[in-house]
């Protein structure tokens, strides 16, 4: 068994060095869909953090008992069970936001970050390390979502968390709350990051 890097290292890798959204370009479907309002973003983040941590933990605990051939199916079922819990909780306590998020809560199941972490990390490593890895990755994901919402909501609605932050004379950029604005924001963020910190093994595209 290879030696594990220290816990802090695992945490920071997910949070920043290998940030799932900006570095690995994973799980961006929901990244773009929920970031037009900060409130939706925060709820989505909490749901995702819970799901990633718990499924990494569960997959890691079951890693010795899961047959190799059906592990994908097992992982999907574990993830889906946690997402159902999140969905029921959000529907019970925050019905308005549940309405606004629509199918995107359920789409956490097919969010590649979770599956990716289970495949790449949790199924070879002990539970505590897996949990921390999940926490780092999901916090990294959340930070990017919050950053995008922080750009889109003020420009698109002139508000932040529902409070007005832009001056009255500010003309709202409607395009920012629609699909193209989301693509532009994320594209530019990825560009800026890659400009300052080029990746090893650069791909051409």
């Amino acid at each position: 068994m290879p030696t594990l890097p220290p816990k802090k290292e695992i945490f920071l890798t997910g949070l920043w060095k290998d940030n799932p959204v900006l570095r690995q370009i994973l799980g961006i479907c929901s990244t773009l869909a929920v970031t037009n309002l900060m409130v939706n973003t925060l709820v989505m983040d909490v749901g995702l953090i819970f799901t990633v941590c718990m499924s990494s933990l569960t997959v890691s605990l079951l890693r010795r008992y899961t047959p190799m051939r059906i592990r994908m199916m097992v992982q999907t079922l574990i993830i889906a069970s946690y997402v159902i819990i999140v969905d029921i909780m959000i529907r019970a306590y925050l019905p308005d936001i549940s309405e606004a998020l629509g199918p995107y809560v359920a789409l956490i199941i097919t969010n590649c970050i979770i599956m990716g972490r289970c495949e790449a990390f949790a199924r070879h490593n002990p539970p505590v390390a897996s949990f921390i890895d999940g926490l780092g990755m999901s916090l990294g994901y959340s930070l990017v979502l919050i950053a995008i919402a922080f750009i889109r909501e003020p420009l698109g609605f002139g508000s932040l968390l529902g409070f007005r932050v832009m001056p009255e004379s500010f003309v709202q950029w409607t395009v920012m709350i629609m699909a193209p604005g989301a693509f532009f924001t994320l594209g530019i963020m990825v560009w800026i990051l890659k400009y300052f910190r080029p990746q090893k093994g650069e791909e051409k595209g």
Partner: protein
């Protein structure tokens, strides 16, 4: 909610409510598979077929099995399993009876299970309460819309690769996202045509 003609729904799903450009679904395979036109075409064709079939199938499963039994809470798990099983079945059938087709589509089929657009289409179908015919039209339309977008992007990327000199850091995913944004902007021009949600 008023009844929407399936034909209207079909065209709305392609143009005004394109599942990729307005709902952001299926972006992961979209970014990774759009490097070449040929693979984009294969992936797109596989998505059209699977999305139309699974959306209709999940509609039957939801209204004929889950609702009567009061098991709606489990629909996420059931949908995922239906999609995975269907893809597996199609893969085996195609491999057995149409080897030449398998050669073209084969490698794309397993990837489809994790394509969130497929799962998303089933979820939208439940939220918007489509009946069977509407689901079929919506699934087929969404699939074609997704295919249209990935083919357009892959053609642009192929050209870019040959001719453009991009600034540092912009190559790869960044420029693809920005081009997709422009494409989404172009598709907004259709939005006055039909109004579905």
């Amino acid at each position: 909610m008023e009844y929407i003609n399936p034909m209207t729904l079909f065209f709305a799903a392609i143009f005004t409510n394109n599942i990729l450009l307005t709902n952001f679904l299926g972006l992961c395979p979209f970014l990774s598979m759009s490097r070449q036109k040929k693979s984009a075409l294969g992936m797109g064709a596989a998505v059209v077929f699977v999305m139309a079939s699974t959306t209709a199938l999940n509609n039957l499963v939801h209204y004929k099995i889950l609702v009567p039994l009061g098991l709606e809470h489990f629909r996420f798990i059931v949908f995922i399993v239906v999609i995975a099983a269907f893809v597996q079945l199609v893969e085996m059938t195609v491999e057995r009876f149409f080897p030449s087709l398998y050669f073209v589509l084969g490698i794309f089929l397993p990837l489809i299970t994790v394509n969130c657009a497929i799962f998303g289409a089933s979820l939208f179908m439940v939220i918007r309460r489509y009946d069977f015919v509407q689901s079929l039209a919506y699934g087929a339309g969404s699939g074609i819309g997704w295919m249209l977008a990935i083919i357009a992007i892959s053609a642009i990327r192929e050209k870019l690769q040959k001719t453009a000199k991009l600034p540092r850091g912009l190559e790869g995913p960044a420029i693809t996202l920005i081009i997709t944004g422009l494409l989404a902007l172009a598709f907004l021009a259709f939005s006055g045509m039909i109004r579905v949600q």
